[in-house]
């Protein structure tokens, strides 16, 4: 399916599920909601995906603005360049996170103009009341981006929440240090509540928080169960769709809307499995998207894979939940909401550690890949190296090498581009690589690997 270059004439990407097709209007509504909240003078908090404290924000009736999501939209609409250029003109290096460059460039332009830039994607990005970051293992921009944004908005306060987790080490087991990590999280989250109360004037409703914490647990479990249905052959849903369904998972967690969405998704997938309805009728190759954020402006590539008989029943990207009842502790016993959030967070990030210990040379990320390869009957693995994101992309080469070393030599493909910066993407080159990979998969299949 040829992809047009002129924005007005680009075809809408096909989705396999109804649920996924509902997402675009949900995002638009979400952004519209922020714009409206701004107009109504409600407090708005800029923050990041998988921040840990979704429930805290919602329980205090604060409206979250998801900066990465907005940058992703600019990227998907192929209207990020002007913001990237503005950031660069301000001496921010192009080698930094392109989400941040897009967001910062937008803020710079908006503050300079004194109003929204002309024709901003989906209404634009507002100046928030507060900016909430974090210091953890995930990503430096989470504790640098908003600090840098203060250059354009010096009057917007920033709160950085310490949420780091223990790494997988050989000289000690993470269980030994859990105690002081949880203590740290709880204190930091408490500090966040104090900060929000101070700068938004809203008070924490602790009962509501407990409710939302419980709702989040149930939503996590529901997502997991829905995604596990994709183990079926043929698979009812691919990574292309998951790049849509991730929206309620990471941008609406702690809301009834998210829970209902995944309930519908679960029902839809259950039906498809019963009807043996797959993403494509003739499924030849089952692939795992083993790492890397997608190029938001090139999601059509998933359809290209489909056209060659390849599907993606599973991905690690944006699968940011585990079923809490699979944890090695009974989370339901933790009644204090902040402690509960803290434990849920710690156990999520250390989920694969114990399993990895059982396999020599293994390591949590690799162990996770192995589990998915086996559960979802995977033939090959695709990784995407996005040049401006060290968080999700450094270590992919190594993981692939290690996977092949300790598990099996599985066909693999590495794609290269960026999340938002279209100038790094070469469609012809990408499709050529995909074609070559399909050949490799076919050959492996014939060899009966």
């Amino acid at each position: 399916m040829a992809e047009e270059k002129k924005p007005e004439q680009r075809k809408k990407r096909r989705t396999a599920t109804e649920a996924a097709s509902k997402v675009a209007p949900m995002v638009k509504a979400m952004i519209g909601n922020v714009l409206q909240a701004k107009e109504e003078g409600k407090p708005i908090a800029s923050t990041f995906i998988c921040c840990c404290y979704d429930e805290i924000i919602h329980a205090m009736d604060i409206v979250p603005h998801w900066v990465e999501n907005y940058a992703g939209i600019c990227g998907a609409k192929r209207d990020a360049q002007r913001f990237l250029e503005k950031a660069e003109a301000g001496n921010l290096s192009r080698s930094l996170c392109t989400y941040a460059l897009c967001g910062l460039g937008f803020d710079a332009l908006r503050e300079e103009l004194g109003e929204m830039p002309p024709e901003p994607p989906w209404g634009g990005q507002v100046k928030p009341t507060v900016m909430l970051g974090s210091g953890q293992i995930l990503c430096d921009p989470r504790n640098k981006w908003f600090q840098a944004a203060q250059h354009y908005m010096p009057d917007v306060p920033v709160c950085n929440v310490g949420l780091t987790w223990p790494l997988y080490e050989d000289d000690y087991d993470y269980h030994e240090v859990e105690g002081y990590y949880i203590k740290y999280f709880v204190e930091q989250l408490r500090g966040l509540v104090e900060f929000l109360e101070k700068y938004t004037g809203h008070k924490m409703d602790w009962d509501r928080l407990s409710e939302l914490v419980d709702l989040t647990d149930r939503t996590w479990n529901l997502v997991w169960e829905a995604y596990e249905l994709r183990r079926a052959v043929p698979t009812p849903m691919g990574t292309g769709d998951a790049m849509n369904t991730m929206v309620p998972m990471v941008f609406m967690m702690g809301t009834q809307e998210a829970y209902d969405f995944f309930k519908d998704l679960y029902d839809e997938l259950k039906q498809k499995v019963a009807d043996k309805e797959g993403v494509i009728p003739d499924e030849k190759y089952r692939l795992i998207w083993g790492g890397g954020l997608p190029s938001w402006f090139a999601l059509g590539d998933f359809n290209y894979f489909n056209s060659k008989g390849a599907v993606f029943p599973v991905e690690t990207t944006y699968r940011m939940i585990e079923a809490t009842y699979n944890y090695d502790m009974d989370l339901s016993k933790i009644s204090d909401p902040l402690e509960h959030i803290a434990w849920r967070w710690l156990k999520y990030w250390t989920y694969w550690y114990d399993k990895a210990r059982k396999r020599p040379g293994s390591q949590p990320e690799v162990e996770r890949l192995i589990q998915y390869i086996e559960d979802y009957k995977i033939d090959g693995i695709v990784m995407h190296e996005a040049f401006s994101c060290r968080t999700w992309h450094v270590g992919l080469i190594w993981q692939l090498n290690q996977l092949k070393k300790i598990y099996k030599d599985i066909p693999s493909l590495i794609l290269e581009s960026d999340i938002v910066d279209i100038s790094s993407y070469n469609e012809a080159d990408t499709r050529a690589r995909i074609d070559a990979f399909i050949d490799v998969l076919e050959a492996a299949k014939r060899k009966g690997k």
Binding site: S95, N160, T164, D171, V177, Y184, W398
Partner: protein, 386 residues
């Protein structure tokens, strides 16, 4: 007492710099264990107190990166890649262990790659928090306690508070010596060039702290006795950046007609400016210094007061250095793919310019092939300062 030190300060420094790892190899031969580490945020006090040899891993701008790419992505900080590349090439095969602090994404996200590729007997990641508020400090102390216990296990002996206190004293003395050396840069012209400083301090990070102390003392004596100042330009420049462990860039600036008289670099001003407060439980003082007293972009300094006060809190030390060392201009020398420093450029540049000091912002890649390209910019900057 090492035989190398009988060469005399500057000559010894040159030798250690040129043959980086010389002393560590020698000590290894004597049965000592060498712990390699990245970044000035690693608490050398603890490694020293354990009776182990701390060794800062550095890169080489003259060595093209040829082996690292098979394991490590190219979007990683070029300095880290160079360090890794040299490690794969066996340059640091004398290491017994690897310790890295949570400095930045390029370091933490590559930890597994380092660990599994080098296959050393000991690896430890110090999870230094990003913020410097009270609960973060408390957390960091607990983390350091974990490290202390683990390293003691590797060394075969618990690290006592006495040993730590001694190491703190030693390291503080070492840093005081560096500050003394820096005093010799204040004169016009400075008695020691920026390139020489980089060479001496880099050499110092490859040897045990006691020996570094000796080295620095002998260098100071030598330099004080100098009759003439080393040839350098009249324009006084301060360099601000992350780790500059190679003379090449500083030399380029000085060859273009300047003297590099001050810096906020590692090794350099940032690393050596502050001491550990001597506390009854030494770990507390150590945690405090590394989290709160080292002024590095990777640490999120908690906001207080107005925005102007906040900038002063973060960058005021640069303003003071400009004044104390009478710098005419500042060069911001930042590597590509550097988050902690890259995000700060607009603010730090703005801050320095608000003091009336011109700033040249250079983005580079830690390689001789790109350093040459800086030449015209540096020269034009010096012409601009006039």
């Amino acid at each position: 007492m090492s035989t190398e030190s009988s060469l005399g300060g500057l000559a010894a420094a040159a030798r250690y710099y040129q043959d980086y790892g010389l002393r560590a190899r020698g000590l290894k031969g004597q049965g000592k264990k060498v712990i390699g580490y990245l970044c000035a945020l690693t608490p050398v006090e603890i490694i020293t107190a354990a009776g182990l040899v701390p060794f800062r891993i550095k890169g080489d701008v003259n060595e093209p990166i040829t082996r690292a790419d098979t394991q490590m992505e190219t979007i990683v900080c070029p300095l880290v890649r160079s360090c890794f590349d040299l490690s794969l090439k066996g340059k640091y095969e004398f290491l017994d262990g690897l310790v890295i602090p949570h400095a930045c994404d390029s370091i933490v996200r590559t930890y597994d790659v380092w660990k599994y590729s080098l296959g050393l007997g000991y690896n430890h990641f110090i999870n230094m928090p990003h913020s410097d508020d009270d609960s973060s400090l408390e957390f960091f102390e607990a983390e350091l306690a974990t490290f202390r216990k683990s390293l003691g296990g590797f060394a075969g002996k618990e690290i006592s508070d006495e040993a730590l206190a001694r190491a703190v004293e030693l390291c503080n003395q070492n840093r005081a010596r560096v500050r003394e050396l820096y005093e010799l840069r204040k004169s016009a012209p400075p008695l020691i060039s920026g390139a020489e400083i980089t060479r001496v301090l880099t050499a110092a990070m490859s040897i045990p702290v006691e020996e570094s102390l000796e080295l620095l003392s002998s260098v100071i004596e030598e330099v004080k006795k100098r009759e003439g100042a080393p040839a350098g330009g009249v324009t006084r420049i301060m360099v601000v950046g992350a780790q500059v462990d190679d003379m090449a860039f500083i030399k380029l600036v000085e060859d273009s007609g300047a003297s590099v008289v001050a810096d906020d670099l590692c090794p350099g001003g940032r690393e050596h400016w502050s001491d550990v407060d001597v506390t009854s439980a030494p770990l507390g003082g150590i945690a405090e210094r590394y989290l709160r007293k080292i002024n590095c972009g990777r640490t999120y300094r908690e906001m207080g007061g107005t925005y102007a006060e906040y900038l002063e809190h973060r960058f005021g030390h640069i303003g003071r250095a400009i004044k104390d060392f009478k710098a005419d201009g500042v060069i911001l020398y930042i590597y590509k793919y550097c988050d902690p420093f890259g995000f700060e450029v607009p603010q730090v540049k703005g801050y320095i310019e608000s003091l009336g000091t011109p700033v040249l912002y250079l983005e580079d890649e830690y390689s001789m092939s790109t350093i040459g390209r800086m030449r015209t910019r540096i020269q034009a900057f010096l012409e601009l300062i006039g």
